[in-house]
Amino acid sequence: MTIQFNNETFRDDYSFRNSDWAIKRFPFPFHEDSYMYSVNMEQHRGGPEGSVYEKRFDVDEHYLSEMQDRAIVLAEDPLRCQSLPHMTLAGWDTLELIMVSKSEDYPELFELHRDGNRWRWVNKPMKIDHTFTFLDETTLPCGPLEYITRQTQGDFAVLDQRDEMLWMDAGMVTTQADWSLDFDIGMNFFEWHAPVPLAHEMGIFKRALKFLLNVQQGAPARRLNWTMTVNPLLDTSPENYHKWGIQKTTLTPENIGAKQHLRVELQTFFRLPRSNALLFPIRCYLIAFQDIVTVPKWGRRLHRVVRDLPEELATYKGFIANRPVMLDYLSQYDDGLPTSPGVWPDLETEPPLAK
């Protein structure tokens, strides 16, 4: 299918919207009526047609607007993209993986023509047609990681693997849920996860690290994570907390349906072949509460999950103060009927709201 790219903003007037298509394919993260941290990893080798899981790097209607938002963030704060000197090869790996994947998965949007190390990259939506020499930085306008991630939705952490450990030694991070690359750069897996509650005690990070160290070339993996965001902001960074943190106090029973967004991250894991580093793309999907509740099953379930979420998690995710007003709103869409297992909307089989 051809994608109609939206012209929208994630700041100021917040004109971001999801089409009906985007709502139906939204990566709803709850497969049952409750939620707790777990080592929720699975293979990333496709998924149902049209779903966000189908392609290696999902491209959707928000592509061009998200790339514009990234350019604004980078112009204000160049440290959102960093790469320690030994990570340049991993940057080329990333560029190669994304160019090959996108040109194979979306031939009508992207083309890659390779003649030895002489590569021509065509990005039609962004009107880029560029010939360069693979592995020669002087032929690109910026480093390879920055070059390709200015053209790819989602944040990217690039992890060096040494001594049975992962190190955050490069990244492009402009759409993050309140963490900072500049703060985390050079840290290891346990250090950057230190602020997360409960999961350490549950042994989740120890097992997750063992899994990640073993992610192999040709066998990528994925998991979902989620949080809450008031207004469709991509850039909820600690650096700009003074701008967005205060917006959390603007929720009212009248505006919550439009303003409160569920924020879901589709996180994928790819072993990079030339550098043996691990690429960790974190793709952010936003959806307004008023759009979620158009799917009866999701409305019922979201109410139950938010209601029963342990206090530590609601605090860490930053919505403990707004939980009562969220529950007032969501309870209108929970009629107490059972929900079908799994994440899919099941619009044909699930009953309409009986309330």
Binding site: P27, P29, H31, N40, E42, Q43, R45, G47, P48, S51, Y53, L84, P85, H86, M87, L89, D93, E96, D160, Q161, R162, D163, K210, L213, N214, Q216, Q217, G218, A219, R222, R223, L224, P273, R274, S275, N276, V343
Partner: protein, 328 residues
């Protein structure tokens, strides 16, 4: 679980290949080169990576890991060099005696458990015998990125010095070869003392050599993160034993010449693995009940795990005793 759960298959992804060259290098070592059967290019790999070669030996499937020793920049072939081990379990003999140009075989995608530390200001390689193979690829990779390296290579005799002449001719100032039969020994202590800050050391060879390099480096104040080694453990033969697999609900016999992992596979159990050499951790299995002694041979579990009797790595470790029940 998130969205579209799929059952993971054990092992790395596979590539169908055709043997394109068989090149005897000396009395013991032969190089095998492979092309992809579908004519496509091989995936790029990082130097130090290995592939697991699947050998169809009659009705028996053998899976042996070998370091990729071809140039990582050359995506038209993968190459390995195999030393014949007359006392081994037969994988290397199969390669030497049965494999011919044109044969169809299966390789796994590259897996790297011995990668270069790309932060290093200098890389110093210590190779013993067939341990030269990963360094062939590392040298090719570093030459392309203007890396700073030197090689110290111990061989038994000039006649058995696999790639010694080729490497010496190509890089006369960087390659140093030491022959046992001429009583030449790597001057390890001097070499470790004279290195600039930020040097990393890599060793691949017999167990004794690996231990020697680690111990000497530690005694000379080297941080352990700067000393890297790789040793593939071949599973050792041992007395047959019986295992109960409670998830699969079967009892199996492990033969003298097969590993516990191989026995599970023979009985149709899809057990996880990657390296099959006790290094990657993928095959880690919980012990439900045991009456007897474990023969742990892996590098993955720590001493505490080994002593606990609660875990086993079936790719290399065995058991002697009355009862063993595993959670598999």
């Amino acid at each position: 679980m998130s969205a579209a759960p799929q059952k993971a298959k054990a092992g790395a992804e596979k590539i169908a290949v055709t043997v394109s060259a068989v090149v005897p290098l000396n009395d013991l070592v032969t190089r095998f080169e492979f092309k992809r059967t579908d004519g496509a290019e091989f995936p790029p790999f990082s130097a130090g990576a290995h592939t697991v070669v699947e050998m169809q030996d009659g009705d028996r499937t053998r899976l042996n890991p070998y370091s990729l020793m071809s140039d990582p920049a050359d995506r038209s072939i993968y190459a390995i060099s195999v030393r014949r081990d007359d006392q081994g379990r037969g994988g290397s003999l199969f390669m030497h005696q049965k494999v011919k140009v044109g044969d169809a075989m299966t390789l796994t995608y590259p897996v790297n458990l011995f990668s270069l530390d790309l932060r290093a200001k200098k890389h110093v390689f210590f190779a013993g015998g067939i341990g030269i193979t990963p360094f062939k690829a590392m040298i090719a990779q570093l030459e392309q990125s203007n890396g700073n390296w030197e090689l110290h290579y111990a061989c038994r005799t000039p006649a058995l010095g696999t790639y010694a002449d080729e490497l010496t001719n190509a890089y006369p100032n960087k390659v140093h070869v030491y022959y046992d039969d001429q009583n030449q020994v790597i001057p390890l202590e001097d070499l470790l003392d004279g290195q600039p800050l930020g040097t990393h050391v890599y060793v691949c060879g017999p167990t004794g050599m690996i231990d020697w390099v680690h111990a000497t480096a530690a005694a000379h104040g080297w941080p352990s993160e700067n000393v890297h080694s790789e040793e593939f453990l071949a599973p050792q033969p041992g007395k047959p034993f019986e295992v109960r697999l409670c998830q699969s609900d079967i009892t199996i016999q492990v033969g003298e010449h097969e590993s516990l992992l191989e026995a599970m596979e023979r009985c149709g159990v899809d057990a996880p693995f990657l390296c099959r050499g006790g290094a990657c951790g993928q095959c880690e299995t919980d012990v439900v009940e045991a009456e007897g002694d474990f023969v742990h041979r892996d590098h993955w579990l720590d001493d505490e795990d080994h002593a606990s009797g609660k875990k086993i790595m079936p790719c290399v470790s065995r058991f002697v005793g009355k009862t063993l029940v595993l959670d598999r």
